[in-house]
């Protein structure tokens, strides 16, 4: 038995500890039933599902365009990534190529979301290890990033920013200067947090070597995202299966080598800096032009046309009440979200509602090896390992 085992003469059962569902040191609603031998974990049973809301059932009864606001609620710390993944899956079904300006705006939105997500993850995991100051810095930085998203689409968290075949709104005037000032300040704060945390002996003692998963385990358990890259496997869909305008951009994909929590932390830290680079390049190069495709099957006509012309008015009525024209078939589209590969598997029966809308959520797959990673470890390893898994309840439980 692990760790020397229980003393058979004592005949004592292992202590059963309920970790969660609402534990102050976890950011996410999950229950971990731990069987303990002293400080050592004999068995960890991870139970998710406390935030199950029937997303997939709800999607089956809504038109394609009506489900976009629901995808915000999947990963509420990086909603634009989910919006984009869903809309691009529907676009794959329709065979649409979006205009270039739209692609740039989506990339900017995605990278802003990725930054916000990593900041929240790093900040709250630091706070769970009792480092409160970097948490405040990182949340301030996150607020500055959310200011961009607010200016882009009018909401900070429930963005509803992307549409099938376009985006909700164009970038506001002067976004580039706005972004230069605010993102510089945000990155300064991230560097401050980096200075406090990365060399700190308490932080490193709790992060280094804990939560180890071998690269074979990572692949076999279907782990993606920063957790996989911290294990030395450079699988980033932005690089390996490029979408949007990523092939034209210049950025680094950080990988770790030790596959422990500290490498996951370092990979996330580096990805924030790379996202900053990507946004700067996008704002440099963004072309002018339309942000919506001119496709009557899915994109609604302009208000200026609806007001004056009969055909467009009829078009608007048909699109709103019937959802649009979608060919029967099934598609799977995935992109690299902050936690890994988020994929949408859509089955269409030729009507305006998806027959099935399945989310391949990265958090769910990243959580499944958690019990395996904790087995035989110390009780104190639960908190940093869970923090660096970055389980987002809305996405994991759908």
């Amino acid at each position: 038995m692990l760790g020397g085992g229980l003393d058979p003469a004592l005949n004592a059962p292992p202590m059963r500890l309920q970790f969660g569902p609402s534990h102050p040191a976890t950011h996410g609603t999950v229950r971990i039933v731990l069987d303990l031998d002293g400080e050592q974990i004999i068995n960890a049973d991870v139970q998710v599902g406390y935030l199950h809301r029937g997303f997939e059932k709800e999607c089956e009864s809504g038109f394609y365009y009506q489900n976009i606001p629901y995808t915000d609620r999947l990963n509420y710390s990086s909603p634009i990534l989910c919006n984009t993944a869903y809309c691009m899956a529907v676009e794959k079904l329709l065979g649409i190529k979006t205009p270039e300006r739209c692609d740039y705006i989506r990339v900017i939105g995605c990278e802003l979301s990725r930054m916000a997500d990593h900041m929240l993850c790093l900040g709250s995991s630091a706070m769970e290890l009792a480092a409160f100051t970097p948490f405040l810095y990182l949340l301030e930085a996150r607020e500055l990033v959310l200011d961009h998203i607010d200016a882009m689409c009018g909401a900070r968290v429930t963005t509803n920013a992307v549409r099938i075949g376009g985006v909700y709104s164009d970038l506001p005037e002067g976004f580039r200067e706005f972004s230069r000032v605010k993102l510089d300040r945000a990155l300064e704060l991230v560097e401050d947090a980096h200075k406090i945390l990365t060399d700190n002996i308490v932080f490193r003692r709790r992060m280094e070597g804990t939560g180890y998963l071998s690269p074979e385990d990572l692949i076999a358990y279907g782990v993606t995202g920063p957790m996989l890259r911290a294990g030395g496997i450079a699988l980033d869909l932005r690089r390996t299966q490029p979408y949007l305008v990523y092939p034209q951009l210049d950025f680094d994909v950080p990988v770790g080598e030790h596959s422990d929590n500290f490498d996951r932390y370092l990979v996330r830290m580096e990805e924030i800096r790379q996202s900053r680079r990507i946004i700067a390049q996008c704002l440099e190069r963004i072309p002018t032009g339309p942000v919506n495709v001119d496709d009557p099957r899915c994109r609604w006509p302009g208000k200026n046309q609806v007001f004056g012309r009969m055909e467009e008015l009829i078009d608007q009525f048909k699109l709103v009440t019937e959802g649009g024209l979608f060919p029967p078939g099934e598609v799977y589209f995935a992109l690299e979200s902050a936690n890994g590969e988020i994929g949408f598997y859509l089955v269409s029966d030729g009507t305006g509602k998806p027959y099935k809308c399945r989310v391949r959520s990265p958090s769910f797959s990243n959580m499944s090896p958690l019990g395996h990673a904790l087995k035989g470890r110390q009780l104190a390893d639960v908190v940093p390992t869970f923090g660096m898994t970055n389980m987002i309840g809305g996405e994991c439980d759908r």
Partner: protein, 222 residues
Amino acid sequence: MPENNPQPPTVSAAEPPAPSPLMAAVLARLGTLVVEHHADYGDDRIHVARENIAEVCRALRDTPELAFDMCLDVTAVDYFGNPDGFRAPERIWDENRGEWRIRPVSRHYVIPPPRGPEPRFAVVYHLLSTRHLHRLRIKTRVPEDDPTIATVSDIWPAANWLERETWDLYGIRFTGHPDLRRIYLNDEFVGHPLRKDYAKEHEQPLEEYMGPGAKEPRRPLS
């Protein structure tokens, strides 16, 4: 009964295009185990018989030039007996109102299409090879009266939770699964909510709260 429904354009073209290099390799390896293969919308997909699923998955993982070492997703689709290509009926029999209606009707009704003769469920696997970076989708039809299929959780541990989820939401039993419990819903839940005949408005009775620990242990100590 309906008059003759207008037929929507069919999905499959008359002449199937040449299979992609990945599909050619898969077909060469699996041979007659593949019942049919498609490449709609650029996604390669194969259909296999239910009995062969474990054998097929093992072969896909262990063949070096295929090397599907990551199982991204296991899920199911409730086709209600329709074929995969969905000859989508333009009109739908609305049982609540007793009339033929154009789909979709309104947001808060799910009107299942009329049942067909084919096996009802399809279990869908999405695979990725981290070495060769290619993807494959496997589909298997599973009948309604015997919704069982062999587990692949011994091939990819990732399938463990995903199969639990599929059991929870669709009621498909995975034989040989080490720990087939519900994962999202509570143990007292009756039915499987993602089936098309589970109405969206359906409510479950409130279970009486038995006090802390009354339902423990959910899982015997191992």
